[in-house]
Point group: C2
Chain length 244, copies 2
């Protein structure tokens, strides 16, 4: 029997630039010499999905129906596994998974497992207030024996503002606040900082920091490629380089 | 009556990095302050579509059935207009359009029309041998009163090799040959050079040249946004800057 042809499904648009970044990383992390070495991919990018953090804080509409619609479309065209390049959306992943037989990769679980395997015991988290409050990373970290530190109230507000600035197309304005928050987390003992919102790698790169920066977007790209049976290119490590 | 909600469909994977580049430009060229200002987009990226140039030169399989399959998927999930970010694939667009009621934008026609409107009368073409041989740009140019110059036989072979190098993940190796071919076209009177394969903007930028570089990927992104009713951000002009 022919094994099922893999089609990587991407439930995206949260936000659209982060989806473009994820697909770019998916392509770059594939070992390929020509077009035909790459996986088939289908992307449903719906930027009209209501804001995830607003919903989690009880301030906005539930995005689940929008995400279920996207999931249905990905299924219709034959996706065999699904990636959701939005950290905050992972608060809704158990509900989405209950509606489909197609496996949904878990970006946060993959990231924390990789961090644990690389010897990190304390990681700092830069993420939306929704991701921090729902303890998505903290819960996963507990299972893997890691400690996750989050910014204080004021610093977190600045991180959230920076994420909105990136979504508004102003990544350079956002960088300073993210660098400062990362430094504070490092001063509190973080051996690595997680870019725990898919907008953050669009503004913040490891060269700006004295601490290892972990990119869950790249972790998810590599996880999707491995699960779909594609070889990795050996592009830059998603868990960052140990600073010299 | 509610107007039909626009969904931009992208028939991609030819190659996958060019599709990622197109989607990145679609996002960047949208005037937006938050996620919800962006259009819904669905991308079917099938890198297994047989090589377009090989087919046009009678050396490989006809890619039409693969493209029709993608088109069907884009229709199934509600695409209201379709963009095909591959110049060479436009040789097959009339056949694709005959199979669907959803309008397919014509990247080449859009690019030539924009060049004509910007006052260019002679343009050089860097493209696949398939795109050159089928005279996709030349035919369009004739309708708009433009002259299109293509590289000589040897230079064209080097351009085709460069395109394969970009597809193999080595854009920096490809740049020198593309710069040289662009210089030769300029010496022959080209007032602008068309980056007429969607791989080329991944290796060649206007800063490397003394001549205006036209990016059909960006032209297509802006055309798609306009047709879908979205405002443009005013990002860099797709027809390049007049060199100072």
């Amino acid at each position: 029997m022919q094994p099922q042809e893999p089609v990587i499904g991407i439930l995206g648009g949260m936000g659209p630039a982060a989806t473009a970044d994820f697909y770019t990383k998916l392509v770059r992390h594939t070992r390929a010499h020509r077009d035909q070495d790459h996986p088939r991919t289908v992307i449903w990018s719906d930027p009209t999905i209501p804001d995830r953090t607003d919903a989690l804080l009880g301030l906005g509409e539930d995005p689940t129906p929008w995400m279920l619609r996207g999931l249905k479309h990905l299924e219709e065209v034959g996706a065999t596994l699904i990636a959701v390049p939005c950290n905050t959306a992972h608060a809704f992943v158990p509900e989405l998974q209950a509606h489909t037989g197609v496996p949904i990769l878990h970006m946060i679980e993959e990231t924390v497992a990789l961090l644990a395997a690389s010897g990190v015991t304390t990681a700092g988290l830069l993420a939306t207030t929704g991701t921090c409050r729902t303890e998505l990373y903290q819960g996963s970290a507990q299972r893997w024996g890691l400690t996750v530190q989050v910014p204080g109230h004021e610093a977190q507000q600045k991180v959230m503002d920076a994420i909105q600035q990136i979504k508004g197309g102003r990544p350079s304005v956002a960088a300073a606040a993210l660098v400062q928050a990362a430094q504070e987390l490092q001063a509190q003992g973080a051996q690595a900082v997680i870019a725990g919102c898919t907008e953050i790698p669009l503004a913040l790169s490891e060269e700006m920091l004295q601490v290892r920066l972990v990119d869950p977007t790249a972790v998810l790209a590599e996880a999707a490629l491995r699960r779909a049976g594609f070889a990795l290119s050996g592009a830059e490590s998603p868990v960052g380089a140990v600073p010299s």
